[in-house]
């Protein structure tokens, strides 16, 4: 069953066509990896799903509802129940770890913000860092804070734009284990961008291979691996 559906999506910048009639369905409660070279349109797909960009043509569905269609934003980003981890993590540098996570909650009817944030930090082993600022944390810890900030709002979909690119192997493995845990325990659907084939082969349920704004391959991880053998 699909949670996200892209139907004949086209998107272009003034002098460059990024996506041309692209269709794609992302399965619910799965980790889907988007693999592709730089400029293949991976980030654009994530931004379109998040509602940060609007397609020139086609429709985007989330849970069978149209959220965007040609030049029209129907459901704004904040109502799409998504979490987005940017490549640069986009942690607010002037907020402490606690405030980075609590800031979004203040906009919702969360009964006990402090407890919710502390529980989340506990889950990621970050309870000792609540008063630290992002620049006082290691790369891996910053990554955890960014994920915690997205998850605390209980999204159904987590979009991750190559967030582990600059991490060491140990931290990367730890976070990837968390992703599997999140998928299983929170019924989260994760769409993840990377260049790294090995990482995708290790964690992904499904893999989409993009090339110049078009889908070259889309299958389960095992099928993709078998096709390469």
């Amino acid at each position: 069953m699909s949670i996200i559906k892209l139907e004949n999506i086209s998107y272009s910048y003034p002098e460059e066509i990024v996506l041309e009639k692209l269709s794609l369905e992302i399965e619910k409660n799965k980790i889907t990896y988007l693999l592709g070279d730089s400029g293949s349109g991976k980030t654009t797909i994530l931004r379109l799903i998040a509602g940060l960009e609007i397609p020139r043509e086609g429709k985007i569905f989330i849970e069978n509802k149209v959220v965007s269609k040609a030049n029209l934003l129907i459901i704004p980003p904040e109502k799409r129940k998504i979490g987005y981890i940017f490549q640069n993590l986009a942690l607010w540098p002037h907020f402490t770890v606690f405030k980075n996570i609590a800031f979004g909650l203040k906009n919702r009817n969360t009964s006990n913000i402090e407890k919710t944030v502390l529980d989340m930090l506990d889950f990621f082993g970050l309870k000792d860092y609540i008063k630290k600022f992002p620049h006082q944390l290691s790369g891996g810890q910053q990554q955890m804070v960014a994920i915690a900030r997205a998850l605390v709002l209980e999204p159904k979909i987590l979009l991750m734009d190559e967030p582990l690119a600059n991490l060491d192997i140990r931290s990367k493995k730890k976070i990837l284990q968390y992703l599997i845990l999140l998928r299983d325990n929170y019924e989260l659907s994760i769409l993840y961008i990377t260049h790294d084939h090995r990482e995708a082969f290790e964690v992904a349920d499904n893999i989409v291979v993009l090339n110049n704004g078009k889908i070259r391959d889309f299958d389960s991880r095992d099928q993709i691996i078998n096709s390469l053998l």
Binding site: L52, P77, R80, A90, H94, G104, H135
Partner: protein, 519 residues
């Protein structure tokens, strides 16, 4: 989901207000001049004399722009790119002349030179204007060029140094990389200088702005004044348009350089030469004029100083009030223009602010008088409203540029992630954008506050009769008062300015602590 009729109502309201209160008066003046029945006759009166005067004024401003920019390159390099001793102190103190009204330095320098030489050939001449205007605008050039020097990537310089010597790297790599800042400095100093009125007026030098002022206030020849003004506006707009690309998009006047790794050049023994150059500059630009003012004021006891203080006392309240409102208004308009230009790519307000900036102060004053002198706008005309509008028109550009460059440096993802989390635009501005550009907001406020406090060019035309405003009071008394009294008044304004800078700095520190931002 329905679409809103007006997507950004706040922006639209400010744009419409700016158009009506600031842009329309200027356009109205130009229109009235051109459509005047006697326009052709007036054009005929613009003879060789006017053209020569315009050329002389342009030449004078060009010389000042070149001197300031060259000095800005040398001093900016020493301050920002060498390990010169007391570098941090120089960074702040060398900027002080920028915040001091030009007439203050004019008074100080005239007295200083006359102190040593009974009569100096050429003191009442272009030389004096070049000296004083350069002193005032060198800090602006340092600020612009220094910011650019700090922003040059260390790798670009180091990779050049690996294949060539310092001299080649400096002229072939570093200078071309900061070319936008150099051009920006040239254009801005030229415009500021050609618009400046008080220094040529004080030295009795006939330049284009004093000529416009004379035609308007002495001969009541409004049409000729406006025609001459239009010529000046055209020159400034042409210059700004030709450099639009650089001024609009190059990160000049960047306040925060947090996280930047700048290449520092250690010249060993030659560093002392850098220190000497800085000390000499500081001596000429600040210390000597200040010492002269102190000497002049207290030469014959404290009597003149007390008298000057009593004369200026009634102006403090009005001047502070007007400068505060002016600075807040320009801050708001500058922020709105910068935010919408950088975040939403809406550049209408930004472009209008640039256009109005090209209008010299004296011309702006005349345009405002002409427009607001009508019954239904008399509330603005006869009150302080017209002065505030003048400030907004003249200094909105500085705010917009300062904050625009600061907003440009915030990654868009910081706002996007907040948007995805459902945080509204007001909250995003209040809790994300504003705290992250606090240094630029503070700089914009303090610069505009001090510029408004010392503004003479527009204020002298538009101030309502009987209004007690500091620069106007000094300027009117200056003509007939003894030098010791003028010197005392100017010294008081100088000290007052320094005191305000200190107070504002302390307030800023408190705000930084409140926002918990590590700068």
């Amino acid at each position: 989901m329905g679409r809103k009729l007006i997507k950004h109502p706040g922006y639209t309201i400010i744009l419409v207000l700016y158009l009506f209160f600031v842009v329309f008066p200027v356009l109205n003046s130009i229109w009235l001049t051109v459509t005047n029945g006697h326009f052709i006759e007036i054009v005929k009166t613009v003879g060789q004399d006017t053209i020569l005067l315009l050329l002389k004024s342009s030449g004078l401003s060009a010389i000042i722009a070149i001197i300031s920019t060259l000095a800005g390159i040398v001093l900016g390099f020493i301050i920002y790119k060498t390990p010169v001793r007391f570098g941090k102190i120089f960074k702040i103190t060398i900027l002080l002349p920028l915040f001091i009204s030009p007439y203050i330095l004019a008074v100080a320098w005239k007295d200083l030179l006359l102190l040593f030489f009974d009569k100096i050939y050429g003191i009442n001449s272009f030389f004096a204007i070049v000296l004083i205007h350069s002193t005032i605008y060198i800090p602006l050039s340092i600020l612009i060029i220094g910011s650019a020097l700090v922003n040059v990537s260390r790798e670009s310089e180091e990779s050049a140094l690996m294949i060539a010597g310092f001299k080649k790297m400096f002229f072939r790599i570093l200078l071309p990389l900061i070319k936008p800042a150099i051009l920006t400095s040239l254009v801005l100093v030229f415009i500021f200088s050609i618009s400046e009125f008080s220094v040529p007026a004080y030295f009795g030098v006939r330049v284009f702005t004093t000529e416009i002022f004379t035609q308007f206030s002495a001969f009541y020849n409004y049409n000729l004044a406006m025609l001459q003004s239009t010529l000046l506006i055209i020159i400034c707009i042409l210059l700004l348009l030709s450099e639009r690309k650089y001024i609009a998009d190059s990160p000049f006047l960047s306040i925060s350089t947090r996280g930047k790794s700048t290449k520092i050049y250690d010249f060993k023994n030659l560093n002392r030469l850098g220190l000497l150059i800085l000390i000499f500059s500081l001596l000429v630009m600040i210390i000597l004029p200040l010492l002269e003012l102190i000497y002049q004021s207290f030469e014959k006891g404290t009597g003149q100083f007390t008298k000057a203080f009593n004369l200026l006392l009634p102006t403090f309240e009005n001047s502070l009030f007007l400068a505060f409102i002016g600075a807040i208004s320009t801050l708001i308009i500058g922020f709105v223009a910068a935010y919408f230009s950088e975040v939403y790519r809406k550049k209408n307000l930004d472009s209008l602010i640039l256009f109005v900036f090209a209008v010299p102060s004296i011309v702006l004053g005349i345009a405002l008088i002409k427009f607001y002198n009508r019954p239904f706008l008399s509330g603005i005309y006869s009150g302080f409203g017209i002065i505030i509008i003048g400030y907004i028109a003249k200094y909105g550009f500085i705010s917009a540029k300062l904050m625009g460059n600061a907003i440009k440096q915030i990654p868009s993802s910081l706002n996007e992630v907040a948007k995805i989390q459902g945080i509204g635009s007001i909250k995003r501005i209040s809790f994300i954008t504003i705290p992250l550009i606090l240094p630029a907001i503070f700089a914009s406020f303090i610069i505009n506050f001090l510029f408004c406090l010392g503004d003479l060019g527009t204020t002298i035309i538009v101030y309502p009769p009987g209004a007690e405003i500091m620069p106007i009071k000094i300027f009117t008394i200056m003509a007939n008062a003894p030098e010791s009294l003028t010197g005392s008044m100017v010294l008081i304004v100088f000290l007052f300015t320094i005191l305000i800078i200190l107070i504002l700095f302390i307030i800023f520190k408190k705000i930084v602590v409140f926002y918990n931002v590590d700068y």
